[in-house]
Symmetry: C2
């Protein structure tokens, strides 16, 4: 049996967006190996119901466990919102989502106790960010807005220009009016819209990227459970998807910040 | 065994858009019963690869066959483009897609032998409309454009206004410049954008709705195989989806033109 410490970190996402979490992990934990699983045949999750997201997440966790991972990161905000509370207690390995890290960071940043949250319909409907913020400070006001067209916009690479700016304005109008000083980008795709969102919200509003916060939580959990790798070898990164890998390979660079060398397709029920 | 004639027509789609085909069928064949299957847990198909769309389509056909249908209509353009040529020969019941009916109608309409086609990435990439048009007249020029943001736009109900009009202009600019006199709306969602598309393309350009054309083909096939129902009873409509039915129920009216009374969820591998 492979030493527990040397085992990879497992990361799953509904598709490609979770690569922003992988990027943050490689920066925060540069010696750790990673297995990434993107459910590209069934993407997106953010428009789907709780029971379906839980079912898909369970299948994804089982796949990663068969890969021998030492912990699991749910990179998808929607799956973190719906599936993490339901599933984490069933497994021995630690499971870390992106909601709580993002929410707690935002709760620490805010001075005026007004936080905005943007995400998919499912994430916003779940109320998970609001609940996690209020764990830290129940007096903080949370203003949430779902932005369903942001994901397809980013997937199309339309992260600037008239349509992008118009959509940002339409979706963020109410939150801006609420005078938040902190805005949680509650979906893996949204950090790619940072320029447009910052231009509209103004530089004084702090944008919280849940991916970066989650990577710090993962480091904390691995330290706390004494599972940080002791390997001096170059870390290995493996990528699995459920649809043909071509599209993932092509646009993955946008999210990961570097070229993905090899992607494997997983068949059927993973 | 139920009389063959009285059996329902089976219709499947990646999600909700195929209800425009159901609507056309109820108008063209008002005495026929229909079983509709929407794969809402795995929607959309239009951004996914050929092998995945074929696999999903095969599962959907098998589900409809278990419902005892007398023929199958593939309401989804992407599935018609990728899966119909691969799968139709394996089954005894007739399988009718939406590509050929739309393409043939357009080939008959065009006077200047210039046809535009808009669809999902997969549909356009497949070249299926172009091939089907050239079956009728190889001298016709076909100008294709994928419009990946149209589906989420329609699902969000954003079928008018500045963003909608800007996207229509961006996507259709090249096709308009090509001076087509006929434009195929090669995706079940696009007929809901008719007003905006017509305003941009001008009234002289004929818009071809594949759903309506497909319904006529279904009638032709049922007549030709002597399978039109002889029942005088009120037809029955059944709806099955793979995600929770709520969303389908809520926005289905937009596509079907009337309230859907009951939707059942199908679990697991259907």
């Amino acid at each position: 049996m492979k030493s527990m410490l040397k085992r990879p970190i497992g990361v799953f996402d509904s598709g490609i967006g979770g690569l922003t979490v992988v990027k943050a992990l490689t920066e925060t934990l540069p010696t750790e190996s990673i297995v990434y699983f993107g459910d590209t045949a069934r993407v997106p999750y953010g428009t789907k119901s709780k029971s379906t997201v839980i079912k898909f997440s369970l299948e994804n966790i089982e796949f990663l466990l068969r890969c021998g991972v030492k912990c699991i990161v749910i990179a998808c905000n929607t799956a973190s919102a719906w599936a993490l509370p339901e599933l984490s207690e069933y497994f021995r390995v630690p499971i870390i989502g992106v909601i709580r890290p993002g929410a707690h960071a935002a709760a620490q940043y805010t001075k005026n106790k007004r936080i905005g949250v943007i995400g998919t319909k499912s994430t916003v409907f779940s109320g998970a960010y609001e609940d996690a913020v209020k764990e830290v400070d129940a007096s903080i006001k949370v203003y949430s807005q779902s932005c369903p067209l942001f994901v397809p916009l980013v997937e199309e690479g339309m992260v600037r220009g008239a349509i992008c700016n118009q959509l940002v304005e339409d979706y963020l109008k109410k939150i801006k009016r609420s005078q938040v000083d902190t805005l949680i980008l509650g979906c893996t795709h949204y950090p790619l819209l940072t320029n447009s969102i910052r231009a509209y919200m103004g530089k004084k509003v702090k944008l919280v990227d849940s991916a970066k916060q989650a990577a710090r939580d993962v480091r904390g959990v691995l330290m706390g459970t004494q599972m940080l790798t002791d390997s001096k070898a170059k870390p290995k990164y493996k990528f699995y998807v459920t649809d043909e890998p071509q599209h993932f390979h092509n646009i993955g660079k946008r999210f990961l910040g570097r070229v993905i060398e090899h992607v494997d397709k997983v068949n059927g029920q993973h």
